[in-house]
Amino acid sequence: MRHTRSALHPYWSWMWYLVPALFFYSLFMAWPMFKSLELSLYTGSGFNLDTFIGFDNYRRLFGQGVVAERFWGAFRNTWIFFAVHMVVQNSLGLLFATILSSSSLRGAQIYRTIIFIPATLAIVVTGFLWRLLLNPQWGSVNIILTALGLDALALPWLGLEATALITISLVSSWQWVGIPTMIFLSALQNISEDLFEAAEIDGAGNWTTFWRIKMPLIWPIMGVVSILTFTANFNAFDVVFAMAGANGPPNFSTDILGTYFYRVGIAGQHPVGIPDMGLGAAVASFIFLVLFVGVLVIRSVFRDKEEL
């Protein structure tokens, strides 16, 4: 008996250390999430949700008139928002990291700081700043474009359906490009110098070294960056809210899942302003599902080659 207990002890005692974390996680994350899933099956007047309606909220969300039209519009826009971040923010991040990790670069510290500064600013501040810069009457973006003789490009960038969402995505990419840069940089710096020396001896140039050595070794890190980008973008709200407001103007072209959820579940539609919390909970549950599936897919794509 005694023998068994001492054998079990080291295997099971560690569980006690999880209890505090588990407690807070359950109380503040799992429980609200579960309640939100439950809420999406109810309806009622105002904030008092007392009528069980099964999957009616989801039926409305996916297929009923204006509600569904706005929802699928927001879903599509979120993918565009995500695509711009993947292409612009993460490619630039990788490029900056490759340049910064080069041993022949002088003043790397300074560039690194400059690239990271926007990520330390509040979105309300950067959003307001960019709204001023992009203002069609007195914004410096259009003043500079006009001075360069590019009058045709001096557009109301945030006011046109074709450009508003892309503009906001680019501002957001500008703000957060420091994060992937830092992650890629630390990954690149972890690669052993021996490998580069060996490659050089074998006659590999910069291009070959990048594709044959750096890329495969930071492949799992790209997965991490993709997951961070994906979850941040499908949860995004603040940058659009700061630059365009919660209604997704013009004509819902900047409406993403975050602003749609805010409008439906929290703020309500101006001027009546009473939210439909059951429908909002359905949107939140859908976002949760998208994130869950998305992260699984990204993980399988970017799995470490050695694990395969």
Binding site: S45, G46, F47, N48, G65, V66, V67, I123, L134, N135, P136, Q137, N142, L155, P156, W157, L158, G159, L160, A232, N235, A236, F237, D238, G245, N247, P249, P250, N251, I266, A267, G268, Q269, H270, P271, V272, G273, I274, P275
Partner: protein
């Protein structure tokens, strides 16, 4: 970032929820404390002076003005009332938005209060009555709408306020030829183009109250030629809006007009006191929205704020005392003069000291009045007439829709849920 925002939001909600807790403790012994909820965060000093005037006659009733950020007001108020932390008295929205709170039992029935009927006309009481005639709030203030214009600029160019829509377009052309922006309005915030342009000019084009009742009764379709003409009039302003109007916000418009770069601005009377405070030397005035040639001129004079009592309040008697005092001439005079641009709705309105507020009020003379078109009956469905008018107005300005398409979308959208 998102997490920080959520924590901030949670703290905000927590402070709003618990803010009401201390109110009993603050008042002196033997006196009663009331909280007054409102969406007018700009009016704290003015309302405190109104309360001071009230306390000269009723020193035992202390009132704390506790306004909420305007876009959050309806949701916050409902949350407070449902969780039992609502204010004792609060501003009430007119028509359906107010009625919904009454229907759910969060407003005291004021039908038996004789002072309301004696101080306010039938027409003034109507926006805060249920269809059965129950009075759920007392009328307080109305707002007006018009066109602000830069007097110096008009004098410099030798032009006078236009009397018809065609004259407006000619005037705008003259201003544009002189190198100024004729009209300051933009599309970025969306609500302003809907509420201060479309709903400002619509009554004259449609035929006022009678026409509105005909639309509501179903005897006129929402896409008749008159409705198309409103959208056409909105579209006709496109050449005269500021450069890049698609991204010009309400505050940008305000700045363009205040800086003298734009000559005219469609807006409501609520901006009067703000303009006087921010630039007292700027000479401006208002003219009535020009009707089409031959039509009766109209003003959109909209019942904006009523005042209601929370039936769960422990001090209903004191709340009724305050409402009765508000209906008296002295209170109306304080209210009208403190809040320039908001007009007391009593049947014998006081003489206003503010010159600009009077200018707005004088527009009513010789013109017929009506409320904002969709407010009385057409707001509660999805899509609401409000959002259809908004999309239509923006659509015709940007050229995405023709006036005919905008009117048809309004008709199809409203009739999909509304039955007369």
């Amino acid at each position: 970032m998102k997490k920080i925002a959520m924590v901030g939001l949670a703290l905000l909600v927590a402070t709003t929820l618990f803010a009401g807790g201390g109110r009993e403790a603050r008042t002196a012994e033997g006196s009663v404390g009331l909280t007054l909820g409102s969406w007018r965060t700009d009016d704290v000093q003015q309302i405190n002076r109104l309360i001071a005037a009230f306390n000269e006659e009723h020193p035992n009733i202390a009132i704390r003005f506790d306004p909420t950020n305007p876009p959050d007001y309806n949701a916050t108020l409902r949350l407070q009332l449902e969780s039992g932390t609502g204010p004792d008295i609060f501003y009430a929205r007119s028509y359906a938005t107010g009625q919904d709170l009454f229907a759910d039992g969060y407003m005291l029935d004021l039908s038996d209060q004789a002072f309301i009927a004696s101080a306010y006309d039938e027409g003034a009481r109507d926006p805060w009555q249920t269809p059965e005639g129950t009075q759920f709030a007392m009328p307080l203030m109305a707002v007006s709408h018009g066109v602000y214009y830069n007097v110096d600029l008009f004098n410099e160019l030798g032009i006078t306020p236009p009397a018809t829509w065609d004259e407006l377009l000619q005037t705008a052309q003259k201003i544009a030829d002189a190198g100024y922006t004729p009209i300051a309005n933009g599309l970025a915030d969306e609500w302003d183009i809907t509420e201060v342009l479309w709903m400002n000019i619509a009554p004259a084009f449609l035929g006022g109250r009678e026409a509105r009742l005909a639309y509501e009764a179903g005897t006129r379709p929402f896409n008749d030629p008159a409705m198309e003409s409103v959208f056409a009039a909105v579209a006709s302003l496109e050449p005269f809006l500021p450069r890049g109007y698609e991204a010009i916000s309400y505050n940008d418009s305000k700045a363009l007009f205040l800086l003298g770069e734009a000559a005219m601005w469609f807006d409501g009377s609520w901006t009067v006191s703000e303009f006087e405070a921010s630039n007292p030397d700027f000479t401006w005035s208002v003219f009535a929205p020009p009707p089409p040639a031959g039509a009766t001129p109209h003003i959109t004079f909209h019942p904006d704020a009523g005042i209601a009592i929370n039936p769960a309040s422990p001090n209903i008697e004191a709340a009724l005392t305050f409402l009765e005092w508000l209906s008296e001439p002295r209170a109306s005079a304080v209210l009208g003069n403190e809040l320039a641009g908001f007009f007391p709705m009593v049947s014998n309105p006081p003489a206003l000291e503010n010159e600009k507020a009077n200018a707005f009020l004088q527009l009513n003379e010789g013109r017929e009045l009506d409320v904002r078109f969709p407010w009385p009956r057409l707001m509660s469905g999805d899509p609401s007439a409000y959002s259809l008018i908004q999309q239509g107005s923006i659509g015709v300005i940007t050229g995405r829709m023709t006036p005919r398409e905008a009117a048809r979308a309004l008709h199809q959208g409203v009739t999909s849920w509304y039955t007369p």
